[in-house]
Subunit: 354 residues, 2 copies
């Protein structure tokens, strides 16, 4: 297949096929389009850690399917024994990455299902796979609802700054912040997306630009440090970012560089929207200071595609996420609608609706 | 020579040797240390454009020596004819890069000398070379004076965020903002420098880290988007940046990403210092909006070391500089001392002292 083909727009990032979990290997994009196949939950945990799959909703779906694989792998012949094996798999999957809460949310949902009474172990195995599939299908529907809510905020002719990758590749299909861009574009709006390249792993330059090319959406990749220059010197209508975890007070953990973008947006009067499903909201985390921030290997900063860009012996810091205090956020766009400030009150109100 | 050797700390970036202009080829650092030699001003102009040499003071010195070369190249046998040839060379050198004002300042200084009465053409040739040499020597002395003024602001144990490269490689020797770091370190202060990698051309990761390793100064390279995370979550004492042009009101053009850093520093109460010689101050430019911002090739964003990091067909924007309005600047550190707000008044006052 030709990776520039529009067929790719319809490929899911995370899906089940013939007893295996299939995922686009995002480390190889944009130059190679390869589907990696998994039969063991241990390999899924490693794939999450190594960022074969990344993006909070996509990680959640991968972990759910990982538990469906664990159920297949297990030799258990009672639901009770299977639950014990699942707990072990859940612990390994949960240790793969610390910041995105969708990972833990998906694992808990699968474990919640496993704890329901099941007379027969194979019925439980089947129910787990069906639950993972349902979670993945729901993610697409949720993305499209966020897209519709968010697109209403995007004027025709808008210039949008977008950070990291939050598209089909960050979810099961469609995307969160980039899903809003996709929805607005499909409504016929003229758009220009300024794509933060998003160092160190270049998810913007590699993945978001690739998705925008698939969709034919006009864009320019920019260095992360250039966002303010564009906001100060030309009309930028809004910033759109995803989230890895939203605390109860609205503080948002997202890819490193989000906080700088948010501060500069506020300073320039540019609306700053966080686009995330309610599964990204963690009411048990009171505020951003309580969100664990993953520190990844320094080689992600000192090397690009295996090539050393810094001197031998140079040291690097590599916090993978940062926290944007909620005072910089204009609104949070969820599948249930917008959350405006005061976030502490309005998040709780939205989450209590059911 | 081993590029990790401390001998390199004493090599000048721009110097005259045996009738040739010698410059460290900064495109090859940190992996190769190569001295490029020039005999033609046309090649010097191209070297400035291609960023063999970069950094406002270094560009100024290179242009001055370029005019000394032009005088050597010229077949003129009268001072008048030589002046005409110099004007042609000056126009080519001035067209090499638009933003850094030190380029124009150095050219004007050389042309000012050429316009003084000279009875004999070879005496003028010799005077031009002596003037370029004096300009380069003065640059080192000026850097060291800035270093002394700036070091007084750096507490022992300081954590400093530094953008781009402003060290020996950006000047003739010593540096502007990194010269302050060097001076403070040589006073025996414990320092930790967080080195903005400075995309797209990675002057921080490639050049500043290399200089800090030479000096043995503790540092960490960070993604440009990570600066705010460090400011928000740990003690950062100050930011130090250089400048390519300072307008009469204190607005400062510097490497892209400076503005974002300045806004985030102000938001976090971190002092933000611009370190620049008075030759970087342009009283004829009233404010930042009047500073031309160079747009460089998109390939600097889409490629790293010749390697495509974005999809085929992706488009990039590449403003090479941005403007930081003076309200974000705590003080400007010059060789004549600090300039505090109100900048418009205090810059003029300092520049009128002589």
């Amino acid at each position: 297949m030709n990776p520039q083909s529009s067929e790719y727009a319809s490929v899911r990032t995370v899906y089940w096929d013939a007893g295996q979990l299939c995922m686009i290997d995002q480390r190889l994009l944009p130059h190679q389009f390869v589907i990696a196949r998994y039969e063991r939950y241990q390999d899924v945990a490693e794939a999450i850690r190594a960022m074969v799959v990344r993006g909070a909703p996509a990680i959640g779906a991968a972990a759910a399917f990982g538990l469906a694989l664990a159920a297949q792998q297990s030799q258990a012949d009672t639901p009770e024994a299977l639950r014990a094996d699942l707990d072990q798999a859940a612990a390994l999957l949960a240790a793969s990455r610390p910041t995105a809460v969708n990972l833990f949310w998906a694992i808990q949902r699968m474990q919640g299902l496993a704890r329901q009474p099941h007379a027969e172990v194979n019925a439980l195995r089947a129910a787990l796979l069906a639950e993972a599939q349902a979670l993945a299908d729901e993610d697409v529907a949720i993305n499209q609802r966020m897209g519709a809510h968010g697109a209403a905020l995007v004027p025709d002719g808008a210039t949008i700054i977008h950070h990291c990758n939050t598209g089909s590749l960050a979810a099961v299909q469609w995307g969160t912040a980039l899903g809003v861009v996709r929805s607005a574009f499909r409504q016929g709006k003229q758009l220009m997306v300024l794509v933060d390249e998003t160092r160190p792993r270049l998810q913007g330059a590699r993945l978001t630009a690739w998705e925008l090319i698939q969709e034919g959406i006009p864009h320019k990749i920019i260095a992360d440090g250039a966002s303010g220059h564009y906001m100060r010197t030309q009309k930028v209508d809004l910033c759109l970012v995803g989230a890895d975890r939203i605390a109860a007070n609205g503080d948002t953990a997202n890819k490193i560089g989000t906080y700088n973008l948010a501060v500069v947006a506020k300073e320039n009067g540019v609306p700053f929207y966080v686009v995330a499903p309610t599964s990204t909201i963690d009411l048990t985390t009171p505020n951003g200071d309580a969100i664990p921030i993953e520190e990844r290997a320094p080689e992600e900063v000192t090397h690009i595609d295996g090539h050393l860009i810094a001197p031998h012996g140079a040291v690097a810091g590599n916090p993978s996420f940062d926290v944007t205090p909620s005072r910089y956020v204009t609104a949070i766009i969820t599948e249930r609608g917008l959350i405006h400030p005061p976030f502490e009150v309005n998040i709780r109100r939205l989450m209590e609706q059911d």
